[in-house]
């Protein structure tokens, strides 16, 4: 029997471990990577002529980063690796990829989507000013380019990454003005039993917060963002928030790093026609998957943060689980002991994820409170007021209809940064639960393609 043709999309922790497991079983998967090098976002490699050691780049996760890079280096002759390649559509049982202004289609028997995550964003008035970056962006600037995003930086949002990146900035010698967390401290206390599922990570988290305090960085919890002050010409000047006691606080800065945890990149799963379900805990639509990453579509599997945001360690486990599901479904042998052990580990990761969701909730109420003149869609500068108008005056209570009328979600980011908040604005304006407004449909190409692209026929 011919070996199954397996394509793995992504070369982060999930994609690499998936490919490794497939290779160990005697297969030769194709690995599609949008980046120039493997590692994904979390273990992104710095350019070749940079010299910082692993410990400096990845901190407590240095050994995991090194292990992942070394694993992939060892796999290079045994996989077909396609870096700088965008997977932009799934259609007719084929994956469509683009590289260097050339597009071609790759047939597959099994497709494992390890597409990772991007920052989850809640708009605030003024977030379109130059100098506002996603939290992930601020980390990439430092990790991959050894730069700070400004001279005086405010970190605002919620989630563990907020403390991690702020700490990395302090360590690297940047001037951190403050860390402003929308989640009240009490939520963290209540989530402790679940967070104890991963004691090492919990300890790391405490150490980060303590380190920030020691460094003299002002850390405020339970805040409500009011406005990023600035001007269209010169960008960010400061941040205004209400603190937990309701007092207005104003901080001067020239850069803001903003993020509310992460959201999975699910467009490819959507184009593959995978079924989705609404996750009430995090208020977002997620692909329906089995514990090993099988989707509702035969031959399509998901792993890592692109399926559900569980973090890098869980992504490594998820990649292995998805590979084993591929092998099992192809009638190939899988070690059941290893499978059981991985599932048990993943259950612990899932408990920790629930703890994080409880400790650092998505502040949905902020969307309802956005002033009418605040921009929701950064791509096309469309305001909350305009989105509310199409809901209230034109009856667009479903998110794709509201997108068609208002263009929120239709810009170049294709709803990645406005989609979740937009749905909350629509739901609040229509007075319905957010799951009733639906979700933005994924559209091909999932990222812009050059108009002068050529189709290759092989």
């Amino acid at each position: 029997m011919a070996q199954p043709r397996v394509i793995v999309i992504g070369a982060g922790p999930a994609g690499v471990r998936c490919a490794e497991t497939l290779v160990a079983a005697g297969l030769r998967p194709t690995v599609i990577d949008e980046n120039r090098r493997d590692g994904g976002q979390i273990y992104r490699r710095q350019p070749d002529n940079f010299t910082r050691p692993y410990a400096k780049l990845y901190g407590t996760e240095a050994e995991r980063a090194r292990a992942l890079h070394e694993s992939f280096d060892a796999l290079r002759g045994q996989v077909d690796y396609l870096p700088e390649t965008l997977a932009w559509n799934i259609f007719g049982g084929e994956l469509h990829v683009a590289h260097n202004q050339r597009t071609r289609s790759l047939p597959y028997d099994a497709l494992v989507i390890c597409s990772g995550a991007t920052d989850r964003l809640m708009p605030v008035k003024g977030w379109h000013y130059a100098g506002t970056y996603s939290l992930g962006a601020s980390q990439i600037a430092l990790k991959a380019q050894a730069c700070a995003i400004g001279r005086r930086i405010v970190f605002m949002g919620t989630g563990p990454l907020l403390y991690l990146v702020a700490s990395q900035y302090v360590k690297a010698g940047a001037n951190v003005a403050a860390v402003l967390d929308t989640s009240p401290l009490m939520r963290r206390v209540a989530a402790l039993p679940k967070l104890l599922a991963r004691p090492r990570l919990l300890r790391n988290g405490f150490a980060l917060m303590a380190g920030l305090k020691r460094a003299g960085v002002s850390v405020l919890t339970g805040i409500t963002p009011v406005e990023i002050e600035g001007s269209p010409d010169t960008g960010v000047h400061g941040v205004v928030v209400k603190d937990a006691q309701g007092r207005t606080r104003k901080l001067e800065c020239d850069a803001v790093a903003m993020g509310y945890h992460l959201r999975p990149e699910t467009q490819l799963a959507d184009l593959a026609r995978c079924a989705f379900r609404f996750d009430h805990e995090t208020r977002q639509w997620l692909p329906e998957v089995s514990e090993d990453g099988r989707t509702s579509v035969a031959g399509v599997y998901l792993a890592g943060d692109g399926m559900r945001v569980l973090g890098a360690d869980a992504a490594e486990i998820g990649g292995k689980l998805a590979a084993m599901a591929v092998l099992k479904d192809a009638g190939l042998a899988v070690q059941d002991d290893a499978l059981r052990q991985l599932r048990a580990e993943q259950a612990r990761m899932e408990r920790f994820r629930q703890g994080l969701a409880q400790a650092f909730p998505w502040p949905a109420q902020q969307a309802a409170q956005l002033p009418d003149d605040a921009i929701v869609c950064r791509c096309e500068a469309i305001t909350a007021g305009e989105l509310r108008r199409v809901v209230c005056e034109m009856g667009a209570r479903e998110t794709n209809r509201a997108k068609a009328f208002s263009r929120v979600g239709m810009g170049r980011c294709q709803g990645r940064y406005c989609g979740h908040a937009g749905a909350e604005v629509i739901a609040a304006a229509a007075g319905v639960p957010v799951e009733e407004v639906g979700r933005l449909r994924g559209q091909a190409p999932v990222k812009p393609l050059p108009i002068a692209i050529h189709k290759e026929t092989v």
Partner: protein
């Protein structure tokens, strides 16, 4: 036009010379184009919708808010492009703008 980014290390790299809006500028080998420009200037581009200057947002190729132009009219996504000696970068798009009059 002051720089937006601050270099915190890795400055011992080979210099690269580029041109931004007709002015000579210095960068370092291995810089992304975004980092090269923002170590010389405080913006990358203008919003086509009339709400001001933009300087990128996600740095991971997802938001498309870092498009810049080359002197011969080509378009580059600055966060995923590596800077090259002699690049001529233009931060105002050659196409028309659509100010938001709403």
């Amino acid at each position: 036009m002051s720089q937006r980014f601050v270099r915190l290390g890795e400055t011992d790299r080979k210099p690269v010379r580029i041109t931004i809006d007709g002015r000579p500028a210095g960068a370092l080998e291995g810089d992304t184009l975004l980092v090269a420009v923002l170590n010389n200037a405080d913006r990358l581009r203008e919003s086509e919708f009339g709400d001001g200057k933009r300087a990128g947002f996600c740095l991971m190729g997802a938001c498309q808010d870092c498009w810049v132009w080359t002197a011969d009219g080509g378009r580059l996504r600055a966060c995923t492009t590596t800077v090259e000696e002699g690049m001529h970068i233009v931060t105002t798009q050659p196409e028309a703008t659509w100010p938001n009059l709403a």
